[in-house]
């Protein structure tokens, strides 16, 4: 009896010791759970580092980080947009990263050096190929309203004004063409009586179902629908057009982090061939390091990068875009 109790005690002590030794990384993720969870599981299995994830939207996380201040338990901020990371950097929430990390990505390394880009998505035009021919589609997103009017597509255009990537695109348009030209475009779009969707899959599903004929979206959503066997068209505008805006995702280490080693390993893992292959394969995003096989349906990385306008992605005028959308009654 005594021996058993003794053994139990030893067992418990060993367990406690093991638990104490195991590192725990706290990750604040602006990216969705379905996308993050598999990668985190993979990372845990390979490194033995336990990861605790808090999910939210980029803005929610930024608000939470500022609310928590120096008491924040967060080690890593993994964001959906470069804008959010730029804001975190300018508010002094992020810790400058070492060159070994920053050397790896092929593009989009920010001047602040406070975060690393992890993947890139492009804005594209999704359309129903049974109703529209690829060669007649406009060369610039600015021409989309006129094209839709001419083709009689009033009420058959979709958009996602509440979605962050759409708002980023409007901000990019302001940066490229100025506010009045963007306002004109938004008003012309509104005149098309577009159907607004809460999410991109909902909009693409509406294209598939024949409710609408086209809509601007992120490229990987089209990739996912095509993989599921649906026939959706994917159109790039001309090189450098706002309609092809690159959307950079990335991650940074917070100043409050107490697990620097683990945090660094996590960022390194995101940029490792294995991590990048996951994004290219399972998610359909563009990897940002060399030697990763991208989806066969997609353009090669260099060509894709050439499609996007060249802008300072950390400093897109998002506030201005939101104000404009609100002013026009779109939001």
């Amino acid at each position: 009896m005594q021996l058993r109790r003794f053994l139990t005690l030893i067992g418990l002590a060993a367990l406690g010791l093991a638990f104490a030794q195991q590192q725990t990384l706290t990750l604040y993720s602006g990216r969705g759970q379905s996308l993050v969870e598999p990668l985190v599981r993979q990372f845990q299995a390979e490194t033995g580092i336990r990861v605790q994830v808090r999910y939210g939207t980029d803005a929610q996380i930024l608000a939470a980080l500022q609310e928590e201040g120096s008491r924040s338990p967060a080690d890593v901020f993994w964001a959906n947009t470069a804008g959010a990371l730029g804001q975190a950097a300018s508010k002094g929430l992020l810790r400058p990263l070492g060159d070994t990390l920053l050397r790896q990505p092929l593009a989009f390394v920010p001047a602040s050096k406070a975060w690393v880009p992890v993947t890139v998505r492009l804005r594209v035009l999704a359309y129903n190929p049974q109703r529209l021919k690829p060669e007649e589609l406009p060369a610039s997103i600015l021409d989309l309203p006129r094209f839709a009017q001419e083709k009689g597509l009033v009420g058959r255009v979709g958009w996602t004004p509440t979605y962050s990537s759409f708002q980023d695109m409007v901000a990019g348009m302001i940066a490229l063409h100025g506010e009045s030209r963007t306002r004109e475009w938004l008003s012309a779009m509104k005149a098309l009586n577009p159907k607004s969707y809460a999410s991109n899959p909902a909009m693409l599903d509406a294209i598939r179902a024949g409710e609408i004929d086209l809509g601007s979206t992120n490229h990987y959503y089209v990739v996912r629908f095509r993989r599921a066997g649906y026939n959706l068209g994917l159109h790039y505008f001309r090189d450098g057009d706002a309609g092809n805006l690159a959307l950079v995702t990335g991650a940074g280490i917070l100043k409050t982090s107490k697990n620097l080693v683990a945090a660094n390993r996590f960022l390194t893992y995101l940029l490792s061939p294995k991590g990048q292959q996951y994004f290219a394969g399972a998610v359909g995003e563009y990897p940002l390091v060399k030697g990763v096989v991208a989806d066969a349906q997609l353009l090669p990385l260099e060509e894709a990068l050439g499609k996007s306008p060249k802008l300072d992605f950390e400093k897109l005028p998002l506030d201005q875009a939101l104000r404009l959308l609100r002013e026009l009654g779109i939001l």
Binding site: E67, T162, R208, L322, G329, L331
Partner: protein
């Protein structure tokens, strides 16, 4: 009771007064803060916000949905209540229960069923209903039971001698109904309209999934997608104005009515109307809402759930436990808060105790989204440690569903003889001690019923959970909403099914225990 005696009782009543006042504060303070926050905006911003053309559009949309739903629910509930109370149809009891069960289906699940089942590729060969008509249909089908239950009770309590008198005076049946019976149904209609109206104003899940912009939807957009808190606060105030208007209207209409029997003796029961050759049509009418609001959703949910990948079931357990971890403490807390308020209202009726009770109901009448927003502002400023934590979610759910627990608790309290408590008091117990030793054991049934109502409300609740849950804390309701938003219908099915079955089981148990039928 003199003022002096009342003051004398005060110390003994403190155990009731303190929690009751805290509860009242929990409902009132955040609202006050919301108003203050909204007024803080600088004049120019304020002008922009108030004069936005979008506001007019939102008013128009919200009003037309409200009126549409009131009309459609009346067209459904009135004949259904008549058929199940005043006719010779068989199986009226069974139909009454079946017709009440759609209460168990939350609006966002209804919207989800419409989106997934209709349109190209859906299970049903119907065009996809969206926007106004979709929202109208879903909201009517899930709220008509409130009206139905009230009208049923009114029909059952109706004195047929009035109608008979009208008939002997030469009125045709239809005119007799319109002139004599219908006015007597008005109180039931009005209180039903109030509940249905509050639902429509507060609904967020249905309108946002079906893409129809009302105030609730606009508040959520401004808060979560555009991060404009000042405009969101103003929209919430507009919405509260609507709610307040609805409450006042109902009160004003009811005050002018006086319909009680003035004669002596008891009313007699009406002779059931024989439907004759209309019987099949009556059954068809009874079956229609059951099919649309119960059978179709369940069929669609089971069908979609069967396509769900098994390995993702871990997510279901997590969401189920998250829902339980929020809803169980919230329902216990709600009943705990309802007890002292009900006690004060029943044992010490006074303007003050009535005011407390009204406050509790106000917490329920406030659209949940506005309430959650008020609490976000309030907690960030006053209780920053609570912000983004599970206890805050539990607390706000309890404040909101407190009124659901209040009714049954109060009902039970009325049935506990006052003398028992007084006997304990003369033997030297304080009011609190007497309450817990003597009264509480006698009203636990009421407390359980109230707790069950609050629990199921909390499990179904969407906007409060969406806004106040800790980051990454996904419950059954938030899972259904987010999957549906992404058009991932099969993935949403098990979660929606869990909510529907859980609620249906509870509604069934409650109906049984109240012996309503």
């Amino acid at each position: 009771m003199t003022r002096a005696r009342r003051l004398q009782q005060l110390p003994g009543l403190l155990p009731f007064l303190v929690p009751a006042l805290l509860t009242g504060g929990g409902v009132a303070l955040p609202l006050l803060y919301l108003a203050l926050r909204a007024l803080e905006a600088d004049p120019e911003t304020l002008r922009d916000i108030l004069l936005r053309p979008k506001n007019l559009e939102l008013v128009r949309n919200t009003l037309s949905l409200l009126l549409g739903v009131l009309l459609l629910t009346t067209l459904l509930a009135l004949p259904l209540a008549f058929l199940t109370t005043r006719t010779d149809l068989r199986g009226k009891r069974l139909f009454s229960i079946l017709l009440t069960l759609p209460l168990a289906i939350p609006g966002y699940v209804g919207a989800y069923v419409i989106l997934s089942a209709t349109g190209p590729g859906g299970i049903l060969p119907l065009p996809r209903l969206e926007g106004y008509w979709g929202a109208l249909l879903v909201l009517s089908l899930i709220t008509y039971p409130y009206l139905f239950l009230g009208l049923r009770a009114a029909f059952l309590g109706l004195d047929p001698s009035l109608e008979e008198a009208a008939r002997t005076l030469g009125l045709r049946p239809l005119r007799a109904f319109l002139q004599v019976v219908f006015p007597q149904l008005l109180p039931a209609l009005l209180s039903g309209y109030l509940v249905v109206g509050l639902h429509v104003l507060g609904d967020f899940g249905t309108v946002s999934l079906l893409r129809y912009e009302t105030f609730s939807y606009a508040i959520y957009l401004q808060y979560s997608a555009a991060f404009d808190r000042v405009y969101a606060a103003w929209l919430a105030l507009f919405l509260l104005l609507f709610t307040g208007g609805l409450l006042l209207l109902e009160g004003a209409f009811l005050r002018r009515l006086s319909l009680a029997r003035t004669g002596k003796g008891s009313g007699k029961r009406a002779r059931p109307l024989s439907l004759g050759r209309f019987t099949p049509w009556a059954y068809l009418l009874l079956l229609l809402p059951v099919l649309l609001a119960l059978v179709l959703p369940l069929y669609a949910l089971f069908h979609l759930a069967s396509r769900f990948p098994r390995e993702n079931l871990t997510g279901l357990w997590e969401a189920l436990s998250h829902s339980a971890m929020a809803a169980i403490p919230a329902s216990l807390l709600a009943v705990g808060m309802a007890l002292p308020i009900a006690y004060l209202a029943v044992r010490y009726p006074s303007p003050a105790s009535r005011f407390l009770e009204r406050l509790a109901y106000l917490g329920y009448a406030i659209p949940p989204l506005a309430f959650a927003l008020a609490w976000i502002f309030f907690s960030l400023k006053g209780l920053p440690l609570l912000y983004g934590t599970l206890p805050l979610l539990i607390l706000v759910l309890a404040f909101h569903f407190l009124a659901e627990g209040l009714g049954p608790v109060r009902g039970a309290l009325y049935q506990v003889p006052r003398r028992l408590e007084e006997a304990a008091r003369t033997l030297g117990d304080t009011p609190a001690r007497a309450f817990f030793r003597v009264t509480f054991p006698l009203l636990w049934r009421g407390a359980v019923a109230g707790g069950a109502l609050a629990f199921i409300g909390a499990v179904k609740e969407l906007p409060i959970t969406l806004l106040l849950a800790p980051m990454g804390y996904s419950t059954l309701s938030t899972r259904v909403f987010s999957y549906t938003q992404e058009a991932m219908f099969a993935e949403a099915a098990p979660f929606a099914l869990a909510i529907a079955l859980l609620s249906a089981a509870f509604v069934g148990v409650l109906l049984w225990s109240e012996r309503r039928f």
